[in-house]
Point group: C2
Chain length 332, copies 2
Amino acid sequence: MPKQTESGTTLADIGEKELINRLKVFMPIGQTEDDTAQIASEGKHLLINTDVLVEGIHFSEKTTSPNDVGWKAITSNISDLASSGVEQIIGVTVGLIAPPKTTWDWIENVYKGMNSALNQFGGNLLGGDCSVGHQRLLAVTAIGTLGTLRLHRSHALPGDQLIVSGPHGLSRLGLALLLSENQTELDQLSSQIKAEAIRIHQRPNPPLKALKTLESCKPKELPWRAGGTDSSDGLLEAVNSLCSSSNCQAVLDLNQLPRRKQWPSGQNFDEWCLNGGEDYELVLSLPSKWARALLQALPSSQKIGFMRNGPPHPVWKDGTKIKKPKTTFEHF
Amino acid sequence: MPKQTESGTTLADIGEKELINRLKVFMPIGQTEDDTAQIASEGKHLLINTDVLVEGIHFSEKTTSPNDVGWKAITSNISDLASSGVEQIIGVTVGLIAPPKTTWDWIENVYKGMNSALNQFGGNLLGGDCSVGHQRLLAVTAIGTLGTLRLHRSHALPGDQLIVSGPHGLSRLGLALLLSENQTELDQLSSQIKAEAIRIHQRPNPPLKALKTLESCKPKELPWRAGGTDSSDGLLEAVNSLCSSSNCQAVLDLNQLPRRKQWPSGQNFDEWCLNGGEDYELVLSLPSKWARALLQALPSSQKIGFMRNGPPHPVWKDGTKIKKPKTTFEHF
């Protein structure tokens, strides 16, 4: 049996059964005795989503505490449910893989982070499975009920306005600060924007309130039709996916990028706004009247462009195709 | 970019987007354009379960073809749902991790294996996520509707009979044959039993029919109460979990081990029957009248013992505690 490390008891020390036993405290109403958990659907349609978070790809010791790993595992999933129109989060199941040398401290803090996010945004830890493996990773499946508005990437239409629920690029700025990238450029930033960027990178919020506002501000005469997705893989990628799924062309204006107030100018900062990723905002394609209502009802929202007939990709308003970033979220 | 290997195109060659695109063929009605999938619950309670399958722990190139990896990923999950009382499988989501050098051939055959199992036992591939990682693994979440009988490990009672839905040990025998273990001992076996053992190891069936029979043979005057689990982690482990969850003592008889007909005698073979694992049979704690009805209605079922008051672990009929096996399913 491996020795205890300084940082505490390892999984090799406690064994699989004791691990499962210790994790039960995080599952007050879920799967505690049986392999499966039971959920009441109350006749509603359900939304289900699975996300994987792999160490070295989606998180690292350097930038993400175990508590934040847990938080992000939950909120990235909930963001996907929000971008499809979730009403209430029911819960999540978690597949956990970790090498035997992983400390119980690390695991416990990941689950504490998951619990904090579930307490804030709704839902319970329903159950899961765990196994030894070469690399720490989480596979989280979230399930929730569908509300009034089923958002689809494929439901954008020519003539729609493109609206985002908030500014973009802060999460990528937070990562740059944590990794001490571009230091000369970043030194000029206010401590307020730096702190906000790091907080947003480490503890993102899924756009549940934005979804509620979107639903509540729909002009009565309009049908429940809107195109939508979230910007977890970057704003441009989100717009691109709306274009290809809906077979429309998105027209964006560089002057209308969804920058935060006091967002610095410069190519790097524009690039992070467009392609930084992990923004977890809604990217919506809405009829003009609904778009105007949302811009009024949700102060953080911004208009970034519009949809028209044309080859299904984003272009600048002069018609030039918006280039793909050099670094993308292609993990293979 | 890594070169193509002899065995075909790799994930590094095709990239993440193209991978997701290619996997869409396996999702005829699930998550194709959006990150989430929608399911109709029709007002029924749902059962949800997550299992992880890690290369080197749960499967290996040596004993499991990619097609069988996919099959087992689905059937082990469905077995868990069956042991909780599932009525109909709705579907699964799949988190897939694989190193960039993994061939598309391997991935495609895993998904073909999953599809074969879903075609046979019900349900659709609803969606999922994929990422690069150090090791091939699958995290599968299965969801289904709950039928009439909610089986729980904690619902066994003193006075119950212990019934299994079929013989045990064949899967472990199949593994031994594939790994050329105990060759002298195994050479004596008939080719029929060898073929059956390998088939059961590579293509296990979840106990859905046994569950249906159990439900249909319940004597009318009895309530819908039964203790139950599956024996995926071994028969003794299943009985042990019934004992600890229900706070009863299980009394087993070595002469009543659920051996297949013509199962060879000897300590190894008894050990495989008790602790081989991956048997995917129901292990049930039933009132005597229901137990008798099941033994009659389900020809493969066998009585293995009974439950009584006492320290919550399995004992032989002379009262000696049944020793834990040397090799267990403790993966850490």
